[in-house]
């Protein structure tokens, strides 16, 4: 019940946010110079053909009505048709979903398994100068080397000395698991560097903040073992900001890491949307932005849920 009352207003806010997102996306694509008929029919369009297209897609109707119809279609899963293939774009997104999901999960796993321990360690041992400087340096490096720079360097290194990895040439996991990992690990590694830095910095800051609390002093005074203090008092109380950035990061990854997918030719969301833009196939860009924003908002909802699970005080007053 507490959880329900806590989540209900957030659910309402989420719906408002998604409506706002859809309005912005709708308006932005209506602002493309030339309009839909010209994009579809090219420069040699006759007035009659333009008229026909306008009528067929309802472009001659009031904007608000157009929006409502478009929204109604969206809610029924109709995200528009690719101008190049004449297929519904949503089918292509569904086909590519496992690729982007796999990439996101590997990157997230790497970020957590490296960032969390390092962050906790450097937060607790703040007295040790060298360790702190190392953690700060890793954090600063990870937050500063853009993914396409790291990716380019990795491509250079591994296309000169192949070692075990492969650059490009994606194969589905079901077909050839080893070959799949050979191609996916490098892009995932590229994406995870930023995540590692993000998790490390946030964890360190959160741990530092928790360490100033009275109950830590009390626990030390009671003579509890440092290991227990970390496990029982610090980790749980430091978890909330970490959950915030990790879910934000995951939402960003799900939106399709455009640059990394383009760089490594990983056939996920990002590459599809980017190619859609290059082909002036705007239905793809529109659907991609909408899907990414929806995924992001849904993940944030999940974060709100996790807050309430981690910290019983959350939502208690509502």
């Amino acid at each position: 019940m507490r959880l329900f009352l806590y989540l209900l207003p957030r659910l309402a806010a989420m719906i408002v946010t998604l409506l706002g997102v859809s309005i912005l996306v709708f308006l932005s694509l209506r602002m493309i110079p030339g309009g839909y008929a010209d994009i579809l029919l090219g420069p040699f369009v006759t007035p009659a053909a333009r008229e026909a297209i306008s009528q067929r897609y309802g472009l001659d109707q009031p904007m608000a009505l157009q929006y409502l119809r478009w929204l109604g279609a969206l809610l029924q899963g109709d995200f528009g048709v690719s101008m190049v293939t004449r297929q519904p774009v949503i089918d292509e997104f569904i086909r590519r979903a496992p690729v982007t999901l796999e990439l996101a999960l590997i990157a997230l796993g790497l970020a957590l398994s490296v960032g969390l321990p390092l962050g906790v360690w450097s937060g607790i041992r703040q007295g040790g100068r060298r360790g702190v400087d190392m953690a700060r340096l890793v954090g600063a490096l990870g937050a500063s080397v853009p993914d396409f720079v790291l990716g380019s360097v990795l491509i250079f290194v591994f296309s000169v000395w192949s070692l075990w990895f492969r650059v490009g040439g994606y194969v589905p996991f079901g077909q050839d698991p080893v070959g799949n990992l050979q191609t996916m690990l490098l892009p995932a590694l590229t994406l995870s560097l930023f995540g590692i830095a993000l998790v490390l910095r946030t964890t360190r800051d959160a741990v530092l903040r928790v360490m100033t609390e009275g109950y830590i002093t009390a626990a030390v005074a009671r003579g509890e073992r440092p290991r227990d203090i970390v496990r029982l008092h610090i980790l749980r109380n430091a978890a909330i900001p970490v959950v915030t950035v990790v879910t934000t990061y995951f939402g960003f990854l799900l939106g399709g890491a455009v640059v990394v997918e383009v760089l490594f030719s990983v056939p996920g969301f990002g590459l599809y949307i980017f190619n859609g833009l290059l082909n002036r196939d705007y239905a793809i860009v529109q659907a991609g932005v909408l899907l990414a924003a929806t995924a992001f908002v849904a993940i944030n909802m999940l974060a709100d849920f996790l807050y309430a699970v981690i910290d019983p005080r959350v939502g208690a007053s509502e």
């Binding site: 946010t17 703040q126 853009p146 380019s152 360490m211 455009v258 990414a292 924003a293």
Partner: protein, 283 residues
């Protein structure tokens, strides 16, 4: 001035990373502003050296496919990357401060509208906004600036709003209101100075985000267009010759990473100075 010097001296002694960041940022800004008058070579002169020549004394960063010296190109790129990101971030700082203060101070409907708007903007992944803006407005510097502004605006709004909320209930603000000060005066004289610290801290982070977005957009060919140089467009240029002339990607990538890192390190130092967090070690 005196305190600033003291601060610099203390940082140099106690905090090597921040000092490194400050020095690096100073050097890069110097290069960005004055680099065009330094004797580094002509960035536009074709066939100044061999095509795709390896780094040498005459061409420290090598030459590109047209035989142009790459070092002055990189210096041009530093200027463009810093300038575009700084303009964009300043725009979003101005808008974000006004909106955030309004939301925090007036509350009620204003607050709901602004906070929801920030949420909506925040839901868009920056690069996808970049693709959308490129679709609508065409690629170019204008697109890059608007994308960076859109991406960093929600961060500034949120911070300013939360600081304003905590300040608005304090005694001096209530006293000012009781004394009959107008809302404009209260916001400008009493709240703005208290918000500025948080804005400055957020600005440095926004600047580093802006530089990443700018270079990523230019790398994808959606921001600064060749032959104009930004660090991202140089990377794009170099990535076509990655395996035979890696110095183009390596040099512009290294300079870009250093630039972003110096901004981040300075941001950390500024934050530690403005928002000191006193903690103690467990052991």
């Amino acid at each position: 001035m005196r305190t600033l010097l003291d601060w610099l001296a203390r940082i140099w002694r106690t905090d090597f990373l921040s000092a490194f960041g400050l020095a690096m940022l100073g050097l890069l800004i110097f290069l960005g502003i004055f680099g065009q008058w330094l004797p580094l070579g002509d960035p536009t002169r074709i066939a100044a050296g061999p095509r795709l020549g390896a780094p040498s004394l005459a061409f420290p960063f090598g030459t590109d496919e047209l035989g142009r010296s790459f070092l002055p190109r990189v210096v041009q790129g530093i200027r463009a990357t810093f300038l575009l990101s700084a303009i964009a971030v300043l725009i979003s700082a101005c808008i974000g401060t006004v909106l955030g203060m309004a939301a925090g101070y007036f509350g009620k409907f204003t607050d709901i509208a602004v906070a929801r708007g920030a949420d909506i903007l925040f839901a868009f992944p920056a690069l996808l906004v970049g693709l959308l803006v490129a679709a609508v407005a065409g690629p170019g510097q204008f697109s890059a600036i608007s994308v960076i502004s859109i991406a960093t605006l929600p961060l500034l709004i949120r911070v300013v709003r939360s600081v304003t909320l905590s300040v608005a209930g304090r005694g001096f603000v209530i006293a000012a209101r009781v004394a009959g000060a107008s809302w404009l005066r209260i916001l400008a004289v009493h709240i703005l100075p208290n918000v500025m610290g948080a804005v400055v801290v957020q600005l440095t982070y926004a600047l580093s985000i802006g530089m990443i977005i700018e270079s990523a957009l230019s790398f994808l060919g959606l921001g600064v267009q060749l032959p104009d140089a930004s660090l991202g467009s140089l990377l794009r240029q170099g990535s076509a010759y990655l395996t035979i002339a890696p110095w183009m990607v390596l040099s512009s990538g290294a300079v870009l990473s250093l630039a972003i890192m110096s901004v981040n390190l300075v941001g950390d130092a500024v934050r530690d100075m403005l928002e000191p967090l006193k903690g103690r070690a467990l052991t």
